[in-house]
């Protein structure tokens, strides 16, 4: 290797580091800086939430710092939160990969008078000042099951049959909560629908596809599959599609339009349930602004652009609203 190449290598390395460092150099203006740590970066759902938060940031003069781990790893989230605290931001929030892991960080943030909030997937800690919830977990779980039942009825003419759930990470709190409510709804209202299995595919569509394929084989008389997170619904749909069971096995669940669009268009999936993550981000931004300015929430708040939003004093929870059903009519939404 020539001497020239030797220096070139150094230049590249140094340049990269410096460029990365300089490109993001913070401007410490007199505006509030709000940190938001999603479950992971690189996925459309949280990108949509960020879009909403940025909108709120622009509107309410806040600087939004969006930074998250590359996989749904709570340890990485805690590290990022720790760095944000030391950066001296004014508020920090997370969509928690684990509800219990943030206790010490919440305390540290509160000691430094930093507002701590959680959104999308909540944090269990006394110091948590605000929870922004996309939907009432119960309402969501119920809604998904209702959609499933309707679909079963459309397919087979009766609200009975065997169904299976495919979830994401086995440790994700919000997914587990929804599963809990979905089970409750089945038991209460649809005793003839039998839940045969719950399997976990992680945040990986390939794994979800494989697992659904195996579920279909393991239970040849399966009538429906519920995907509990964004990747498992398309995974399940793909498996149903390739095994030639389109129209026989009902597929629904919780996912976003961008991800599920091809399967809605080709008819493998009729309806899925979600909320508007852009609105969720926006609501989070608004809520944080209120806290930063020391305002308190009323039981029903007038949020500009969103309308009436409920607040639960006891759990300090802002609730975005009822779940939204996505089908062919509104599949063109971009998030």
């Amino acid at each position: 290797m020539s001497r020239h190449a030797f220096f070139k290598r150094w230049a590249v390395l140094g340049g990269t580091t410096l460029a990365l460092a300089l490109g993001s150099s913070a401007t410490w203006a007199e505006q509030y800086t709000v940190g938001f740590v999603p479950k992971l970066v690189g996925i459309p759902y949280f990108a949509a939430m960020k879009q909403g938060m940025d909108k709120a940031g622009k509107q309410f003069d806040m600087k939004i710092v969006y930074q998250g781990p590359s996989s749904a790893d709570v340890a990485q989230q805690v590290n990022i939160v720790s760095s944000l605290i030391n950066q001296g931001v004014d508020a920090i929030g997370v969509a928690a990969n684990s509800p219990t892991a943030f206790g010490p960080m919440v305390k540290k943030a509160r000691d430094k008078n930093i507002v701590f909030y959680s959104t999308d997937s909540q944090v269990d800690a006394d110091g948590n000042q605000l929870r922004v919830s996309q939907v009432n977990d119960k309402a969501l779980g119920y809604k998904v099951i209702d959609v499933l039942a309707a679909q079963l009825k459309a397919n087979t003419g009766k609200t009975s049959g065997k169904v299976a759930f495919v979830s994401g990470g086995s440790t994700a709190t919000n997914l587990n909560t929804w599963i809990k409510f979905m089970k409750a709804r089945l038991a209460d209202k649809y005793p003839d629908i039998e839940l045969v299995d719950v399997q976990y595919g992680g945040e990986d569509v390939t794994k979800a596809t494989n697992i659904t394929n195996q579920l279909i084989s393991a239970y040849p008389d399966l009538d429906g599959i519920v995907g509990v997170n964004t990747t498992s619904v398309p995974g399940a749909a793909q498996a149903v599609l390739t095994s030639g069971k389109k129209g026989q096995i009902a597929v629904t669940g919780i996912t976003d339009p961008n991800t599920i669009r091809p399967y809605v268009m080709n008819g493998t999936v009729n309806k899925v349930v979600l909320w508007n993550p852009i609105d969720l981000g926006y609501l989070t931004g608004w809520g944080v602004k209120q806290l930063l300015e020391g305002k308190s929430f009323k039981p029903v708040n007038d949020v500009p652009g969103l309308g009436k939003v409920k607040y639960d004093e006891q759990t300090k929870t802002l609730l975005l609203g009822p779940p939204m059903v996505i089908d062919k009519s509104n599949i063109q939404m971009d998030f």
Binding site: T209, S217, A218, G235, R261
Partner: protein, 323 residues
């Protein structure tokens, strides 16, 4: 020589190899039987067999290249990230409206480039293979994030699934045929062509190979590049299997591939290995991952079972060596 030389029996090499493979065949049969019984025959459902075949094929294709690399005495732990980055490149081509035929070269070329980078670092940069590919494992993954951002590629043309999975000449999906043809070519190449034997020669004794005028660096570079191309093929197959590209696509895939090769009896010290073994290893890994759901148990067990099978398999090889 101080180390005990091979036993006095001096069996021809092919018999020695087939003992290992025989054991694997027995393993495959036993596990298949176990799963068939445990799943009350559901294992044999057409959709399950298709799924099993496809996932085995996706593992097998890069495993062919990995076998070649390991036989030369190297290793490539970056194939998972490579698969992700290749899928990003190919998926982007699909997004630009390219059809399957037009996009296929994108997959192959992207794979070749990434493999070539690995190979160049190892051969010309003299970075140990584990280190070089450990580095590119994270670099390629970061690159996939960089290109994809917060976006997932969902608009994969249905023709990919149609061609790879749903078209099933003689009841076997096209992707599996591709894998089998590549495997057969690889076997002929390794066993019957001089270049194939040179690959073994490098793993046996790199210096001697150099002295015999075998272009060691070029062959190694080719082995890593070839693996890249095969990862490209696997990426295309996997988009047929689950048509979506995430930033995390392929995470952990390298472990599956290496496990298949190791189970197949290819020795990590280089110089010894067989593609037939790799095929059996890939099937075994596929079976283990396939079995857990069919047996109505949590997938967590698959790791435990896979780990134990690898240990038992390499352990039995040792026991045989001692006899």
């Amino acid at each position: 020589m101080a180390t005990p030389a091979s036993s006095g029996l001096n069996w021809p090499s092919w018999i020695n190899v087939s003992v290992r493979e025989l054991l694997l065949v027995v393993g495959v049969i036993v596990i298949t039987a176990g799963i068939s019984i445990g799943s009350s025959g559901n294992f044999w459902a057409a959709s399950n067999l298709t799924n099993l075949m496809i996932s085995t094929a996706i593992t097998l294709v890069p495993a062919i290249g990995m076998t070649v690399i390991i036989v030369t005495g190297g290793i490539d732990v970056s194939v998972g990230s490579m698969l992700g980055l290749v899928a990003v490149a190919g998926g982007t081509a699909f997004e630009y409206g390219l059809g399957l035929a037009a996009a296929t070269p994108v997959f192959l070329i992207a794979g070749a480039i990434l493999g070539l980078i690995n190979g160049a670092l190892i051969t010309y940069g003299r970075v140990p293979p584990v280190i070089a590919t450990l580095g590119t494992l994270s670099v390629y993954r970061a690159a996939a994030f960089l290109f994809l951002g917060n976006h997932w590629i969902t608009m994969i043309p249905p023709s990919v699934t149609e061609t790879m999975v749903l078209t099933q000449p003689l009841g076997v999906p096209v992707a599996v045929w591709i894998a089998l043809v590549l495997l057969a070519l690889g076997m002929v190449f390794l066993a019957r062509l001089p270049r194939g034997r040179h690959i073994f020669a490098i793993g046996n004794n790199e210096n001697a190979a150099r002295l015999n005028g075998i272009p060691v660096e070029r062959i190694k570079l080719a082995a890593y590049t070839l693996t890249g191309v095969l990862v490209g093929v696997a990426a295309l197959m996997s988009l047929g299997h689950s048509p979506m590209v995430q930033t995390t696509t392929g995470t952990g895939f390298e472990l599956t591939v290496i496990a298949a090769v190791v189970l197949g009896g290819t020795e990590l010290t280089g110089g010894r290995g067989s593609l037939l073994g790799t095929l059996l290893g890939a099937i075994l890994v596929g079976l283990v991952q396939n079995g857990v759901v069919l047996l109505h148990i949590q997938p967590f067990w698959s790791g435990v079972v896979l780990g134990v099978i690898i240990l038992v398999s390499v352990g039995s090889a040792t026991v045989r060596r001692n006899d």
